[in-house]
Amino acid sequence: MGRFIVRRVAQMLFVMFAVSILTFFIFNVIPNGDPAVRMAGKQPTESQIEAIREEWGFNDNIFVQYTTTMKKVFTGDLLSYTTQLPVDEEIIKGLPRTFALAVGAALLWMFVAICFGLYSAVKAGKFADRFLTIIALIGISMPVFWIGALMNYYLGFKLGWFPNGGYVEFSEDPVDWAYHLILPWTALAILFIGFYSRVLRSNVLDTINEDFVRTARAKGLGERQIMVRHVLRNSMIPIVTLWGLDFGAVIGGGAILTETVFDLQGVGQYAAEAVGQLDVPPVLATTMFAAFFIVLLNAIVDIVYAYLDPRIRLQ
């Protein structure tokens, strides 16, 4: 376990380093990416721009710029070029919103996908299975920005059943918090429900024909116990892997579209706005933040994997 953690931390540092270099240099070669011009406002004079360049260190060698920026990332002094607000504060402000969205959606899609997948497998080939297959394919095919916008428009704006975007702090009013998040959760979960239920269905159908399931039946166990203890547990292993990875990806930016459509003001939306303005510091910080969560969830998935399948050992 000790070696496992050391290796994973080293891996995490390496990934974050690589991601930061890539992001930083990509944004430096993008056309019209000169931050000094943007910061100088409308119709600046050449000397104003030059002064900003000098002040912010844009005249330095690119490697020096990278090093100073990275230093600021770790000391928390990083400022956005456009808003000139501290990046770390903005991320910390968005974090609970992103987490609320990601955790809620992940629980929702996992729960619904297990129900759909299991039911589909039990009824394989029958009407219910075909119906769920079609629903799943529709879910997989609908982009989140489209279904999100539709939900927002019809359920939020037209019918007024749900708030039209926005976010309420959990500490202020938990019920209102959940009420505001129902649409975003659903919109984000739909794609994953479709995908996961298909994967689970095929896993369950494979597992159902295993010899140990026949043994379980020969023991006199009930159908429910056979399905849950023997079939589901063995079918869940690949799903849990996927779940961890997708959850990491959603926290680390997979929810950009959902956050933007529903105006949740989370980290994803912050990143999206920063990208739109070619604002390097927030882009750099949010990308590293995403990489951090993806690698972290990868490690957690491996631990859970070893717990679910005792044949796998961490090393």
Binding site: F212, G220, R311
Partner: protein, 355 residues
């Protein structure tokens, strides 16, 4: 369920037929199988792959039930009719009254559950026993089937056991609720020869200790010779001969049985160039010959073989010894002894060599 009076069979199977609807049409896996099992008896069902022996055995526990399967006939066990029984009725029989050991111990245990938990699960399904006592019982069972350090091993996972040890775990699992009938479906096929002998020895000892009757399904007559009381030989969905161990080994009546016995490799005879085998292939299950199914492979076929021979006792003083062959007992004795002291189907191999 009550224990039947002495002399009554524990299990009576009558005219069992099992067929499956497949893409190639209806396949009759078992056609007309009848047998009885006395308490504490070891009955071996012997036959080659596809003879319907495993399907017959699994059908008794309802394990072949599926939307594509069709069943006829009856199987009475202590007053319960197993073929028509509801799933709930069957669940009370499975594991508790009739337990099963499967062929492949490597895949028959749940890979992600501790073996103790798998045994306890079965015990608690049938008896209201607190966790600690169920666990004690699991440890005792593992000791009984010869697993060393059972108290520690009870918390191991299946992958931490060898094949032979896993089969012992399967036997412990099967015995956990003191069943009256143990169905062992090729229990030693996946194991190497020395382990086979140990497992069979253990099963015979357990029969003495627990008094459970055993149905041993196998393709290996060598296995049967060690432990069976009675043998039923199956061919292509039918029992073609049935009798006690001695009757089958010393006075086999059906040419198929002669062939099986002739195919046993023997170390006490000079080694033949090639091991003797029954010529030809078993018929396809969906396209069997009329009458006796063994007819196309039988060197002694004659006109009467186009009619289905009933399974009946054809020897005067041997009531329990039945077979499905139209030849008279005298003809059989004459034909099977092609060479003195050997049993087999040599008549055919000599005639094909001559031609």
């Amino acid at each position: 369920m009550t224990t039947p009076p002495a002399g009554e069979p524990l299990l009576t199977v009558e005219e069992l037929r099992v067929s499956f609807a497949t893409e190639e049409g209806v396949v009759q896996a078992v056609e007309d199988v009848s047998f009885e099992l006395a308490p504490g008896e070891i009955l071996a069902i012997v036959g080659e792959s596809g003879s319907g022996k495993s399907v017959s055995a699994m059908t008794l526990m309802g394990l072949t039930r599926s939307p594509n399967a069709m069943f006829e006939g009856t199987a009475h066990y202590k007053g319960t009719e197993l073929i028509e029984a509801s799933e709930d009725q069957l669940r009370r029989v499975r594991g508790a009254e009739i337990a099963m050991i499967f062929q492949d111990p490597m895949t028959s245990l749940n890979p992600v559950m501790r073996i103790g938990a798998q045994i306890i699960e079965q015990i608690q399904e049938h008896e209201a026993l607190p966790d600690q006592q169920a666990r004690e019982r699991a440890v005792e069972l593992l000791e009984k089937v010869g697993i060393p350090r059972a108290r520690e091993r009870v918390d191991n996972y299946p992958f931490e056991f060898s094949g032979g040890m896993r089969q012992r775990v399967m036997i412990a699992l099967a015995l956990s609720c003191n069943p009256s009938v143990l169905i062992a479906d090729e229990p030693t096929t996946a194991l190497d020869v020395t382990i086979q002998a140990q497992i069979l020895q253990r099963m015979r000892e357990l029969r003495e200790e627990t008094g459970a009757a055993i149905i041993l399904v196998t393709h290996d007559l060598g296995v049967v010779a060690d432990i069976a009381d009675r043998i039923a030989v199956m061919y292509s969905g039918r029992i073609v001969e049935e009798g006690t161990l001695d009757q089958i080994f010393y006075d086999p009546q059906h040419p198929y049985t002669w062939g099986l016995l002739g195919s046993i490799a023997r170390v006490d005879r000079p080694r033949p160039e090639r091991l003797p085998a029954i010529a030809g292939m078993p018929p396809s299950l969906s396209d069997r010959p009329e009458g006796c199914h063994f007819r196309p492979r039988c060197p002694h076929e004659f006109s009467k073989c186009a009619e289905v021979p009933p399974l009946e006792a054809r020897l005067e003083d041997q009531a329990g010894h039945c077979d499905r062959c139209w030849l008279t007992p005298d003809e059989k004795r004459e034909k099977r002894e092609v060479r003195p002291g050997e049993i087999g189907l040599d008549a055919k191999s000599t005639s094909t060599e001559a031609a």
